[in-house]
Symmetry: C2
Subunit: 368 residues, 2 copies
């Protein structure tokens, strides 16, 4: 049995009991609210966890990439929604290959993509399941709600395509606004989507799926009558952002980065062996609305701040008489676990009964 003290650092250590709790809690929430749960696997990128999510009640999974869907299909996942506009002919070809093996649906939000999808689907003799992406405020991909009907009708008229849903990711909470109201954000996301779906349905379009994000907002959006599906991702591990948003408790954070102190240059400074190649830097400290202090929460040392990083160095500022020495380890909950896991080839899973095992982050680096 591997001992945790024998792990080489830096590494990610994941508590399997917390993962099971998080998977079960979201599944139960979805059941109670009568919505389908289709977790986004971007957070873990590990087939074993995707299979656990499905076995606990998820109808399938969500991916952002065709390549991620291929990895998951190869490992037994049979129902995948690629929540992304697939536009390149080469990628559409791969989607069609997947559609012959498993139940797959993809995002669409332009006629340019829809026409190529239609052409290839017709040629291959398959019907592609599509969901129209609606922009509910993030200003990312997606059609504006008031333009959804026109685009949906044009797409639905093309052969080889079955436009049967709409989806969005609002994520207003990530936009750097100065206020943060998850409930209001989730309810607004749900409301816009249900109104949009009704306009399409009233025009005769067969919109069955009204699908919304995200770990912090899903439990509110799901309460809007007419929402059929939620696609949270981060909830499986949770992270510091979600604790600060009060979307989870710190005890529900399953994944921590384990680092070793390599230098104590002065009593108020420590340097650890994890930097920006170990911890993601996409969620920066001191930014509104979260105003996170540093790049992670250092377990047991609430006053210590991981305030600065180079590629392989993490600089911690602490005012306390911490007594920490070179060679000791620290466990840190990163600001954003999804992009942090993405930096690691494997993670360590701890389990009180079975000790530690390694899981490969099989779908990481699958950028295309």
């Amino acid at each position: 049995m591997i001992e945790i003290s024998s792990l080489e650092t830096p590494c990610i250590v994941i508590d399997e009991n917390i993962v099971k709790h998080n998977i079960a809690t979201m599944a139960e929430f979805a059941r109670q609210n009568g919505v389908q749960l289709r977790p986004h696997i971007k957070t873990h990128k590990i087939p074993e966890f995707a299979l656990q999510q499905v076995s606990q009640g998820a109808v399938g999974i969500t991916t952002a990439k065709v390549s991620e869907a291929e990895v998951m299909a190869d490992h037994g996942i049979s129902d995948i929604f690629i929540a992304y506009p697939i536009v390149a002919p080469s990628k559409i070809k791969r989607v069609i290959a997947l559609a012959k093996r498993i139940r797959i649906s993809i995002g669409v939000e332009s006629m340019a993509a829809a026409e190529e999808l239609s052409r290839q689907a017709t040629e291959a003799g398959v019907t592609l399941q599509l969901r129209l992406e609606v922009d509910t405020g993030l200003a990312r991909t997606g059609v504006a709600p008031h333009q959804a009907l026109e685009l949906a009708q044009q797409i639905a008229a093309l052969p080889g395509l079955d436009l049967n849903g709409i989806f969005t990711f609002k994520g207003a909470v990530y936009k750097g606004s100065s206020t943060l109201d998850l409930e209001a954000a989730g309810l607004e996301e749900g409301r816009i989507m249900v109104e949009t779906a009704e306009i399409l349905q009233n025009a005769g379009l067969r919109i069955q799926h009204v699908s919304v994000g995200s770990s912090p907002t899903a439990i509110y959006a799901a309460k809007v009558e007419g929402v059929t599906e939620i696609r949270p991702g981060t909830y499986i591990f949770n992270d510091r952002m979600l604790t600060v948003m009060k979307a989870c408790q710190i005890e529900e954070c399953a994944a921590k980065v384990r680092v070793t102190i390599v230098s104590v240059p002065s009593p108020d400074r420590l340097v650890v062996d994890g930097g920006s190649k170990t911890f993601a830097t996409d969620v920066q400290p001191n930014q509104p609305p979260l105003q996170l202090k540093g790049f992670g929460e250092i377990i047991g040392y609430p006053d210590a701040i991981l305030e600065r990083m180079n590629e392989e160095h993490g600089m911690i500022r602490t005012n306390s008489a911490h007594g920490l020495r070179v060679g000791q380890t620290l466990d840190i909950i990163p600001n954003h676990i999804c992009s942090t896991v993405n930096l690691h080839n494997e993670v360590y899973i701890t389990n009180e009964e079975e000790g530690i095992r390694t899981l490969a982050v099989l779908a990481r680096g699958k950028l295309a």
Copy 2:
């Protein structure tokens, strides 16, 4: 022969002719200034490039991690300096295993580490080559110059250790100061190191190596009489930071991220299929002293700004009548190429004569 138009995006495409030019230019600079060149391979993490650097005159390579050194040793590199304080007993054991195979030296900056190094070296019957890390202003790892002599004498007195050099990475240019003077930074780095080396040498310590960073400052630090070695890394590819620092020309940037436009939500906005899992976010826009506009330089569209990213989306703002459409590709020079390459499992190498080939980023994800 693979055509560039057939590459799935997002991906990194590297122009081999520019790489060769960059390798040759730095090697020639080192020769002319009478310093040894020991490139840091953190930028590329690819053995083939490390071997090219050595064949063009580098005395060996630099790594940050034991694991990177192991990968490079496995692929024929025989002289490696791990420019990092190695403190964990398990890692020291691996260093000793390497020391039995190749010429290896490592960083040291604490007695805690030195004592364990000495203990294991003595037990294994090897002599470990060490270099003392000196902090020349970055406030990262390293001993303060005025404390270097005392620590060096204590370390040198331990059995099994050969303390034969000092090293630093100043990187003052990365510290967010409001001014940027590479020449002054490099000269100061060199001057502090030479003065420190002389103090140690005058006390009878055998300090042969006086080793300094970095791609933007090495050509200045190397001109200080007494500096013996430079360890630039980024110069092999260059990046947008270095162009803005005027440390290279944009034509000397060898590595670009190729992305596909997946959405044109409005005439002044584009969304591409590369976000924070494709482009590193450790060098943020609008920060002093560089004040970079966005996360990369979009080739051919100087007015366009990659202003915002989610994990798999890059949001570009443009005021020009760009005429770009869904499905077209863009090439982007990232702000920081080292941490960007680190996100990719492989890169594509282009060469006018031989077309395109793939190289695995073999030492990426080797965090321990």
